[in-house]
């Protein structure tokens, strides 16, 4: 293991992808992910990585090119944000239906209207049901580790699904952090060469992407759902292997000071570490609140969530996106749905926070935690709140 290196996290994501000996990169510029493909193109230009970098003319073409390249048996990587992900939207469910293990780094950014380049999770939430594995990183080290883990998960013969790694725009993409980088031999030991199931080659001609009539379509959807649900076993295996080789542990829900806590917060992405600081502050004042950091968004870790909240009375779920006109934010709705059948489920608060780059401080999380503590007594109606709206 080498020493810690300070680097911008977007660059680190590119370095990690290069360590995976990716064959084809297709990406289109959009803030705030752009430094990832920019740095990868530097790595290719310097001859440190033998890969084809396709400077496509749109995100639609980026994911389309990834799809084509992956279908030949190449290891493929892309990155995007926000509107770019929406523009990829048409191809998103096709990549998963074709079971192509494309890996994407997603520098999360608010969807336009008004245009805004800063962070929230409305981009990935809009693409929630596309059949991709979706994981969230809290910090730079997790980005590096998850990029390398991702290819092993996505390419596993029992998975064969595309995967996106979510890293918050600016809060993560543009932050310089000290990170540990495995060396090439270590990555080669962890990540074997991609052995595709079927490829586009005249020696074994196959037809990919054929038309599915009503007689078969439901079965294909069932197969895709099962593939995604079953991928959790492989994700856990790969994370175990990672821990054994590199010593860093990954879990679908990473609990922080949650043991025995009656009140829990649930966060994702760069919120995690700010919320940790808030939890520490609350503990100093003898207020026992725990934190659940959700790393695995799809497949959703239903069982792990049920176990994690079994002793809690109140669970405050943070959402970084609005489900306009819905019953909760997207994460809030998911959590409520997963816990609805539990006989002793906690009261669930849903706070929609940090939209379009609105800063979330330690103080904000303390305030939300205190509200959750009060909720244990006050038993408010369960709904959702858009936190910190000015003038309301």
């Amino acid at each position: 293991m080498t020493k810690r290196t300070g680097m911008e996290i977007a660059f680190a994501a590119a370095e990690a992808a290069a360590l995976c000996r990716i064959d084809v990169i297709a990406a289109y510029p959009i803030t705030p992910n752009t430094h990832i493909p920019e740095h990868l193109s530097d790595i290719v230009a310097d001859g440190r990585l033998d890969a084809e970098f396709i400077c496509v003319e749109s995100e639609h073409s980026a994911l389309s090119a990834c799809c084509g390249a992956s279908a030949t048996g190449a290891r493929v990587f892309t990155a995007t944000s926000s509107q770019g992900l929406l523009f990829m939207g048409e191809v998103m469910p096709i990549v998963s239906a074709m079971r192509l293990p494309v890996v994407m780094a997603l520098g999360n950014r608010a969807l336009s209207g008004p245009i805004n380049i800063w962070n929230d999770h409305s981009d990935i939430m809009s693409q929630r049901d596309m059949g991709w594995i979706s994981i969230f990183a809290s910090n730079g080290q997790e980005v590096v580790d998850m990029v390398i883990q991702s290819f092993k998960i996505a390419e596993h013969r029992d998975v064969m699904l595309p995967l996106n790694i979510n890293l918050d725009g600016f809060q993560l993409t543009h932050v310089v952090e000290p990170m540990l980088f495995p060396d090439q031999e270590e990555v080669d030991r962890f990540l074997p060469e991609y052995k595709p199931y079927a490829t586009l080659h005249p020696d074994h001609a196959v037809s990919m992407g054929t038309l599915g009539l009503p007689e078969i379509f439901t079965e294909v959807m069932k197969a895709k759902d099962e593939a995604l649900i079953n991928s959790k076993r492989v994700i856990l295996e790969v994370w175990k292997e990672w821990e054994e080789q590199f010593g860093r542990k990954y879990e679908p829900i990473d609990a922080y000071r949650a043991e025995g806590a009656k009140v829990l917060l649930l966060t994702m992405g760069s919120m995690d570490e700010t919320a940790e600081a808030a939890i520490d502050e609350l503990h100093k004042n003898k207020i026992s609140v725990g934190l659940l950091k959700l790393k695995l968004w799809r497949p959703f870790p239903v069982e792990e969530l049920r176990r994690a909240v079994k002793d809690a009375k109140v669970l405050a779920v943070m959402d970084r996106a609005v489900s306009f006109g819905g019953a909760s934010g997207p994460v809030g709705a998911e959590v409520r749905s997963a816990l609805y059948d539990e006989p002793d489920r906690p009261l669930i608060l849903n706070e929609i926070i940090g939209l379009g780059g609105r800063d979330m401080t330690v103080g904000d999380f303390v305030q939300i935690a205190e509200k959750a503590v009060r909720a244990e007594r006050e038993k408010p109606r369960e709904g959702y709140e858009i936190y910190g709206v000015r003038g309301s």
Partner: protein, 320 residues
């Protein structure tokens, strides 16, 4: 008679007997596009990967669990045959370079209808041509969105009645002229651009063979008669294609490094467009005056083409 023309006489015997686009697909009777694809595959041969845009050919040829394709084939979506093709080409190239697949020349060929090419797929096509992938793109132009039910596209000719720009009491069908996509591709400095039609099979196959040999991007725009959408009897498909050429409506030419050449023998005097128009139901509403407008435009466009044939030089000849 030149050697090349002489070669054409014997070409039928040299055509590959193998069927890479097999019988049993679900195309309509008299489908020009299915015929053109069958011919194209024969000219391309085994070492080919086909990327198919959404459209008639994808639907009729690859209904799960059946396939008419004996070549490796992929369909992803409507607008992206060129960008999926870019990825396939890049993938094959890097895997060959790294020794993970056999060291063999495999041609990447993207195909789409006119909607998937001149409208929704134009951006992806332009990007792929500009980047210079070793990619042949073939547009099978049946002049409307036939798969979804004869809606108007940028390739629909002036005056044609479609389901979204129909002839009516106050309308004579399409009001705009057909978009000239081969010219757009020439403007990308693509080394080989050609027009073709299934009614001239050897001309088309020779063009496919030439394009296959290009190390870089190439483009063929193949007029494909659609009896269903053009409202004509299926047995008239081949005749309609020949009339499109002989009237000058769709001249067959190729552009090699910027040098234009008419590739089939044209009549001394173009046949009147009426000969082409009158056999098709999509034009049945046109008045004599409207046909006259079309006639004038066809002659003008044909003369513009001849002007290029006679006056433009090959790009290498223009080096400073």
């Amino acid at each position: 008679m030149s050697i090349m023309e002489n070669f054409d006489l014997y070409a039928p015997r040299l055509v590959d007997k193998e069927e890479y686009f097999s019988a049993g697909h679900r195309a309509c009777q008299g489908c020009g596009e299915a015929l053109a694809i069958r011919l194209m595959c024969k000219a391309l041969g085994k070492d080919t990967v086909i990327i198919n845009a959404t459209g008639c050919m994808e639907v009729v040829s690859a209904m799960y669990p059946t396939t008419a394709w004996k070549l490796p084939w992929i369909h992803v979506a409507f607008p992206n045959a060129a960008s999926v093709g870019s990825g396939v080409e890049a993938g094959l190239k890097v895997l060959r370079r790294k020794g993970r697949i056999a060291d063999r020349d495999i041609k990447t060929v993207s195909i789409g209808g006119d909607g998937g090419t001149v409208d929704i797929g134009l951006q992806a096509l332009s990007g792929a041509m500009e980047r210079g992938h070793d990619l042949l793109y073939v547009c099978f132009d049946n002049e409307a969105y036939m798969n979804t039910g004869i809606q108007r596209s940028g390739a629909t000719p002036f005056g044609a009645s479609t389901t979204t720009e129909p002839a009516g009491l106050d309308s004579s069908g399409k009001k705009a002229w057909k978009k000239n996509v081969p010219e757009i591709i020439v403007a990308h400095n693509v080394p080989y651009v050609a027009t073709a039609c299934h009614s001239y099979p050897l001309d088309f196959m020779n063009k496919v063979k030439k394009a296959r040999k290009i190390k870089g991007p190439s483009y063929i725009h193949c007029l494909s008669v659609c009896p269903t959408g053009w409202r004509l009897s299926p047995e008239l498909s081949i005749k309609a294609g020949r009339l499109a050429v002989e009237t000058g409506v769709f001249p067959l030419y190729e552009v090699v490094d910027g040098k234009y050449k008419i590739t089939v023998e044209m009549p001394e005097k173009l046949r009147p467009v009426e000969d082409y128009i009158k056999i098709q139901g999509r034009f049945r509403h046109l008045s004599a005056d409207e046909i006259k407008i079309i006639q004038e435009k066809v002659v003008q466009e044909y003369n513009k083409l001849l002007d290029k044939v006679n006056n433009l030089h090959s790009w290498p000849d223009l080096k400073g």
